[in-house]
Symmetry: C2
DNA sequence: TATGGTTCCTAACGTTCGTTAGCAAGCCAT
DNA sequence: ATGGCTTGCTAACGAACGTTAGGAACCATA
């Protein structure tokens, strides 16, 4: 399978269709028979390609998590830059990951609680690490005078809140493209913090 | 049952426990046996008090929706006031409804999709009406010069986004009380729009 | 053509689900 | 004390679930 080919392997089809269904109906309310029907096969056949329903969820959640962490690392790679620059780039990256694949993002944001241990704890820890990185950036920016907020934790929470609903309303065919969305939100979120 | 009594009727206990469980585990992933266990009774006994699982969800969703609509009506009752004042008050009301009962709010925000028709369509229509009211207020504020945004629809979406995640992190025992949260968020959201 | 691997269908499994019906126990009013 | 109502238990129902195992069909390769 070539990366540029529009023809997906059966496994990729399963992943993609599951992502869309999990997003629309929720993981728990999506049955494997429903997923199979959407793929034009029978439920039992899915197990030729995957081990379990949860494997699908696991893959979606940890793939998106990896993207977030990679974006954060990239945004903050240069230690010589001030925290405010890092923050701005991290917000931009965060927004872009969210709108890159809104189905997967929505599943990532809402369905992780259906993971079993030990994946669940692992996932929660990743979440916390990611949030802590933003909180640190904000606090550093405040400390060096480039940012202002009475409460870095509060600012971090409202920052994430502002974009978390994004997959629910962003439409790739909307009148705003990814660059415009990313820019608008980044500006709006950053402006609320800049001195 | 007196309104001031801390002792809840069995039905109120069911409602409350269901709200908490639906919020934590999701509607679809919460079984009636689980709900019964949390109440210290057997699943079959719940049906002495309710007709169906969905009745619980319906009640939660439409109760919160009523609260939102009531707050909006109250915030915008005086026609002689400018749109910006209405908007500010409507945001404040919106935030207060959300934090008044975070379990019910979270269920309201995320679990409505499990409603059956015709309740589902009815609910979606309520959502749309509520959002449209905010969009109108913003547009009116822009028209009379008190507010600025290049796009009232975008502003409405980001406004709702900013507060929608609130039930996930607000804690009644946190260091910020309802008034402070409402004020901070209202200020922050309003400041992003005020000229 | 024969063989091996992959994919799918099918029937079925064991489990869980929301719910019902019948009965017993408890409570309250007369 | 009696009767009626409410509440809860229990067993069971029919349906749906995630998954397995066996076999058939298909495809690629020698």
């Amino acid at each position: 399978m070539e990366a540029t080919s529009p023809i997906l392997s059966r496994k990729a089809q399963i992943d993609q269709t599951a992502t869309a269904l999990f997003r629309r109906r929720g993981y728990a309310a999506t049955s494997m028979r429903e997923l199979a029907a959407a793929l034009g096969i029978e439920a039992g056949s899915i197990y030729s390609h995957i081990k379990s329903k949860e494997e699908l969820l696991h893959r979606i959640c940890f793939r998106v998590a990896d993207e977030f962490m990679a974006g954060l690392r990239s945004a903050t790679a240069d230690d010589t830059e001030p925290a405010a620059i890092h923050l701005r780039r991290a917000i931009d990256s965060h927004v872009r990951v969210l709108i890159h694949d809104t189905d997967a993002s929505a599943v990532f944001l809402h369905e992780w609680r259906h993971l079993s241990e030990p994946a669940l704890s692992e996932f929660v820890q990743l979440q916390r690490n990611y949030e802590a990185a933003f909180r640190d950036m904000i606090a550093r920016g405040v400390a060096d005078g480039a940012l202002r907020t009475p409460d870095p934790a509060f600012a971090t929470l409202t920052l994430f809140a502002s974009v978390t609903w994004l997959p629910n309303w962003y439409r790739p065919d909307g009148k705003l493209g990814p660059d415009q969305i990313a820019e608008r939100l980044t500006n709006q979120l950053f402006d609320g913090l800049a001195t």
